[in-house]
Amino acid sequence: MIDRVLLANAHRSRHRIVNAYSTDDLLAILTQAAALWADATYETRRRTAEALYSVVPLAPVMLDHGLDLIFQAVTDETMRNLTDRQTLGMPSPGALRSGHADGSEAFVGPNIIYHSLAGNVPGLSIPAVVCGVLARSVTIVRDSRRQPLLTGAFVDTIADIDPLVAAMILPVRPDVSADDARAALAEQDCTVELHGSDAVVAELSDAFSGIPTVQHGSRISAVIADGNAQPGDWAQRIAHDIAMYEGLGCLTPHTVFVEDRGDIDAWSSALAEGLSAYERSWPRRRQAVALEADRRAFLERAEVSSLLENASLALGGSDDAWCIVTSAETAPSTGPGMRCITVTSTADREHTVRAIRTMPYPIAGLGLTLDWADDTAAAPSHIDALKAATGATLVCPAGRMQAPPLAWEQDGGRRLGDLLDWRPAPS
């Protein structure tokens, strides 16, 4: 159940924040909290991480690296970039306009934002919390059973800095059902964001019919290796994107398209070295039986295809720690993640785009063997065309796929901008 007392308290906090806190105030609080969490020696982070080691199926070193990536993405600069980009042409969040016949209005988010998070990767709640605070909305975050603790611990840090802001965020237990959540949202101006597999999202969305809902279902990612790129320069970075979070994130590449009919065997060998190195530093931890069985299905297909096709080669790490299927012609098959990937060749970009469009799920991220600075403004001019052609919402240099910017427009939505509107200011 969602605690009604805490919920009422969250609404009271929201009223005061809408009326008394500027965006700069909120940015300062969030920046301070994230900076603490970006430091691996911060006591709350250290204790939370130790608790997570035993419940999250990731190598501790990988989890620590993940926490670095998650909180380093939340800075004053990235949050200002978020507010600037996603409120383009609109007032800054929280701006008040008084004197309306019906009272004053504020440019804020809905009364309540409810997030039901997936359990595939840690830290999905952090951008949700950031956007909830900046939108000045009561934000209820239901973590997955597979990724507990982190939201609550981060909110505790915010509470140490400003209890009023923290009170607006309600981390709730994974056993809160959709019906419980629905009851808490009744009659409210609210938005629901659902994360998970297509099946899970479809099931949950039924419970929230009639409420504005943003759905983040099954997605897949890939890397495009330019024909001129050298595997030695890039394989390690691509291996990072594959191994991170055990390949369970929507931004994990499952296929490397080597363009201009490049040397796929060379790419596979270089990737094998990279994955072996990551297996040593981030030993793969076993997942749930169903996921491991899916992975086994991929490994078996890989073994048989390597036996059947002379042009096809499967590379496997010690104890099946990783697997690469190499095929010059085969349409890309998608692994279940967990350090399994297909390397295939294409004739040119047009061919690559066609192959991406036939993948079994919508594409989320594309890694390119091309470097540019984090600043989106520095991105090459053809990126927008590539996004439009493939449907990808994140195109970035390979190696940075698991560190999406805070302003990432996941599934085409603006995670802050879409929340904001002129709403009656709470008195």
């Binding site: 076993r286 039986v289 169903a290 491991e292 069985a293 899916d294 992975r295 086994r296 299905a297 991929f298 078996e300 297909r301 073994e303 048989v304 036996l307 059947l308 104890d319 099946d320 692994g335 279940p336």
Partner: protein, 362 residues
């Protein structure tokens, strides 16, 4: 080799051959397959296992079931070829099982059928086949088995419902059942699971609650997948309840079969056998004494303790002409005196006999 295998199969199930006998034969079969199936030899070499190195049947390398998508019977002249019923990935992804002689398959199929479905020796029965026949599906191993059952155990009232043009005669099936309900000899219904649902739906629609003669029984096979004909997907328990309500066949006379084109032996629910031998163990699927099955951890492929879900691995001596040790993507847990199916790895293709009905109805 065939004679040895058939002799082994025909051993008295009440006093089956010893574990040592099984192991000796399994290792001989492995040595033969290593020599005669080039693709399997390459797999064994890749895994670093040669016949002389395997000391018991657990050490025989289990090939992924997908290996049957290749032609393993290169050296056979005029082989019998069984093709799987297609998969969700299309007909070109069918498994192919080629054998020189049907004798082993016949011995294997009928011995196990008699043990699991006819332990009470009910005599000749009226057989209805709600599934493929040799005419409608000449490359279906299931059709071959149904045909043998029809001729071995059926009386002259036997009927089939899949016609040569790929049609399923639903009305004919219902008419046959009405007729069988007024007869005295028990009926034996052999069905792909997804063909039972439209029959049950039709009976419900017509408000027909038939009473098949005592000792009538139903054998269904394959998962119950949504039908293109729009019939419901019924759970295993729902199917049992419906068989009782609309056909008056009690659940202990309903037996689900689990088999695959890649294997010439079958597994059956032990419900009927348990009724016969008085066992009180939970319903489980069990294989014949010429097979061994283990549930393995999908990560390590090592056997796992009872009660845990893992992947099924079989060793089937009836497969002596192709590959005996097969690693499947079927999830199961050990249960009673066998195993209970728990689904299929998500990365694997949907497949099986009920897919066959989809192929027909599509």
């Amino acid at each position: 080799m065939q004679d040895r295998i058939i002799e082994f199969i025909r051993a008295n199930p009440a006093a089956p051959p010893s574990e040592d006998d099984f192991t000796a034969l399994a290792l001989d079969v492995f040595a033969r397959q290593y020599e005669t199936v080039p693709l399997y030899r390459r797999l064994c070499e890749a895994r670093g296992v040669r016949p002389g190195q395997a000391s018991d049947w657990h050490a025989v390398p289990a090939a992924p079931a997908d290996i049957f998508k290749a032609d393993l019977g290169d050296g056979l002249t005029d082989p019998h070829i069984f093709l799987s019923s297609g998969t969700t990935q299309g007909p070109q992804r069918r498994s192919r099982h080629a054998i020189a002689s049907l004798d082993t398959y016949r011995a294997s199929a009928l011995e196990q059928f008699e043990r699991m479905v006819l332990p009470d020796s009910p005599g000749r029965m009226s057989v209805l086949v709600l599934g493929p026949t040799r005419t409608s599906h000449p490359h279906s191993s299931l059709a071959q088995m149904f045909e043998w059952c029809l001729s071995e155990y059926g009386n002259d009232l036997g009927a089939t419902t899949f016609d040569d043009n790929g049609g399923f005669d639903l009305a004919g099936a219902v008419d046959w059942l009405r007729s069988a309900a007024s007869a005295t000899q028990p009926a034996l219904i052999l069905s792909v699971s997804s063909a039972l649902s439209p029959v049950i739906d039709e009976l419900r629609k017509r408000s027909l609650e038939l009473r098949l003669p005592a000792d009538s029984r139903i054998v269904d096979t394959g998962g119950n997948k949504p039908s293109a004909a729009g019939s419901r997907v019924m759970s295993a328990k729902g199917l049992l309840k419906a068989c009782w309500r609309y056909l008056h066949v009690p659940s202990y006379l309903c037996v689900n079969e689990y088999g695959m084109t890649e294997m010439l032996s079958q597994f059956y629910d032990d419900a009927l056998l348990s009724r016969w031998d008085g066992s009180l163990l939970p319903r489980a699927k069990i294989g014949p004494h010429w097979t061994r099955t283990v549930v393995v951890n999908p990560t390590t492929l090592e056997p796992i303790p009872d009660g845990n879900v893992g992947l099924l691995r079989h060793l089937d001596l009836a497969n002596w002409e192709s590959i005996s040790a097969i690693q499947t993507l079927d999830l199961a847990e050990t249960c009673g005196r066998g195993f209970a199916l728990k689904g299929r790895a998500g990365g694997a293709e949907t497949r099986g006999c009920s897919q066959l009905l989809e192929t027909i109805l599509d």
